[in-house]
Subunit: 375 residues, 2 copies
């Protein structure tokens, strides 16, 4: 009775985990939740009754202009009339998948990559080709999906040569480049963040980002820009999806962008401290158990368990949650069919430093205990 | 380079019209815009920083409970855990289409029907079977889409027998009933508004409505409930589409629902007056040119031109807009491939009574003039 695509619609493991992270006392490394204490004050005084009416599918003009200016500033030349306001960047993935993905369409992805992007691509029947930053072979993929800056889940940031190489690979193969850049403003150390789309010469491209990480996810607001030919299609798909995005959210974000009150700097200082203290706690609890790179931005650590501790972390998740610690097993970030991978993703931004330290200690202990049980 | 479905993604005629209705001095009968003077005051005092965080895909619990109570009150028994908050009811159409529609899937629709529903069904490759309130033959359609209460565009309201007959037809054929009910609270005369889904005995069903018409479309908020088996699938599709709906909007709507300050009655009094004065103006300008039924609720008049004035109104739309009057040609509301139909839809809620009177006079004159040119 259902459409064929529903075969591919599986319960997301994240949903199961997100259901428990609100439990009192739970230390959550699971979500990509920004720290609640960093949320902005909302200035609702500028919301007028005109903003309660239906609005344009593309988004409100003032906000589109602000976004276009900011995109141009970060090296991606565009114009307000090629900016589409989204109901969060998750929606951009839905629209792009509708535009390009038939059953069997090849998409080049990093493995691991953002699990909710895989969920959408799966729904529309995608097949995957996997590439790496060092070997950007996109094969005959119609679409190439990338999170080059503070990747989810690995935290990896492409250097300049890797960025140019991926753009070149897409130009050569004609694969459409879809760059997802939600974390770029959460930068803690010096690194290259030039949009890869700015290096593209002739293939089509889409670049999207989000207001969720720097401002507030509850407002559900993001944006995309793209090569000229794609824009009218994406606007129509947006219209069919939800007519337009919440206009109160658009006004609130516009005011926050215009205030330009050093918020980014305060935020990155706060998150940098969280990362640094998380790093110390990781070293204290996980030395000898796992390896990791300190991320230069974003919200995540990606741990790879050493061979002697290389368990399937899905098997300890229940025990860990029962002990008050939630995390994301690595498997969720791979295209379907992946076997166990000895990796896990830890968010470092949400828990307080003390809670994080306690949680990491508990988690390491659970992993050690699980390995003692192995012969 | 695009997915096959993009062949079916045509520029909506509405978009073209909506672009011009903001022009100063334009008298618009085109959109389904609620009257701006009826928008509520927003009480933002209850918005807490917790509402700025990510939230559940299903929607916030308090709002879901409020909606479930209101659904049960209107005769459709459901529970909060089977209520899904939507980013406007347009999103419900997208989710339901994803759940049921493959290329070639049959959908039973009234013709004419809501054009943006056709747009979504087209995108996923639907084929159409058309039925009427008096002959609810849904054939082998997998899905039956209906707007039984103040239908868009005709304004028709099903009586009790028609409601039961459509439910029975779906029960017999096994077609899933998808009831779209955004206008139900805009009721001006006595009539039956019992949800058809409440008559269903064994087929699966989805019922959706919107906060756009009674409160504010700019908040982009609606909701659905459905038979048990469908709910988990629709939640996953919602998660893949935009994670969850704007939580500020959810809080604002919750407060408005809780205030329960006689808003509905004031609103219907206002709109009833608009309808009545529109009716007088119609009679003054369109007697002898067109026929219509006075709608007992909703936002629209549906005019059928008499044989001697039966022109394709798409051909006079430009002239009409140039003269400062926008309307919707009837063809947009029929499944693709329809030839000219001598009908047009007029929204009566947005223009002031004086502007509406002027606009109808102008429009009638343009139609008369166009017909003089015919031999």
């Amino acid at each position: 009775m259902f459409a064929n695509r529903i075969e591919n619609l599986i319960e997301s493991p994240v949903r199961e985990i997100l259901k428990v992270i609100d439990r009192p006392g739970m230390i959550s490394f699971a979500g990509g939740l920004p720290a609640t204490e960093c949320f902005p004050e909302l200035d609702v005084s500028s919301v007028k009754s005109a903003h309660l009416q239906y609005g344009p599918s593309e988004g409100d003009d003032e906000l589109r202009e602000q976004v276009a200016a900011s995109l141009t500033e970060r090296g991606l030349k565009t114009a307000a009339d090629r900016v589409l306001i989204l109901s969060g960047s998750q929606q951009g993935i839905d629209l792009v998948a509708k535009l390009f993905v038939d059953r069997g369409t090849g998409i080049a992805v990093e493995a691991p990559t953002y699990l909710a992007a895989l969920q959408v691509f799966d729904l529309f029947g995608a097949e995957y080709i996997s590439y790496t930053a060092d070997q950007p072979e996109t094969g005959n993929a119609r679409l190439t999906y990338t999170i080059p800056t503070f990747q989810n889940p690995t935290g990896h940031c492409y250097n300049e040569a890797q960025r140019q190489a991926l753009a070149l690979a897409c130009d050569r193969s004609g694969s459409v480049l879809f760059e997802d850049d939600p974390y770029r403003d959460l930068v803690y150390d010096d690194c290259d963040r030039t949009p890869i789309c700015s290096y593209v010469r002739n293939t089509e491209w889409i670049y999207q980002s989000s207001f969720s990480k720097v401002y507030a996810p509850g407002l559900r607001l993001g944006y995309l820009t793209c090569s000229e030919k794609l824009f009218p299609h994406l606007v129509r798909l947006k219209q069919a999806a939800d007519l337009h995005s919440c206009r109160i959210s658009q006004q609130l974000i516009l005011k926050l962008l215009q205030a330009n009150n050093g918020r980014n700097q305060k935020l990155t200082t706060f998150y940098r401290q969280r990362r640094d203290s998380f790093d110390l706690s990781l070293t204290a609890s996980f030395s000898g158990i796992a390896d990791w790179q300190r991320p230069v931005g974003g919200l995540f650590y990606w741990l790879t368990l050493r061979p002697e501790f290389a368990i399937d972390t899905r098997e300890i998740l229940k025990r860990s949650i029962a002990a008050g610690v939630a995390f994301m097993p690595g498997e969720a970030f791979y295209p379907r069919g992946v076997k166990a991978v000895p990796s896990l993703r830890l968010n470092f931004s949400h828990a307080s430093p003390q809670a994080a330290d306690d949680g990491l200690y508990t988690l390491a202990k659970i992993i050690r205990t699980a390995c003692e049980g192995r012969v």
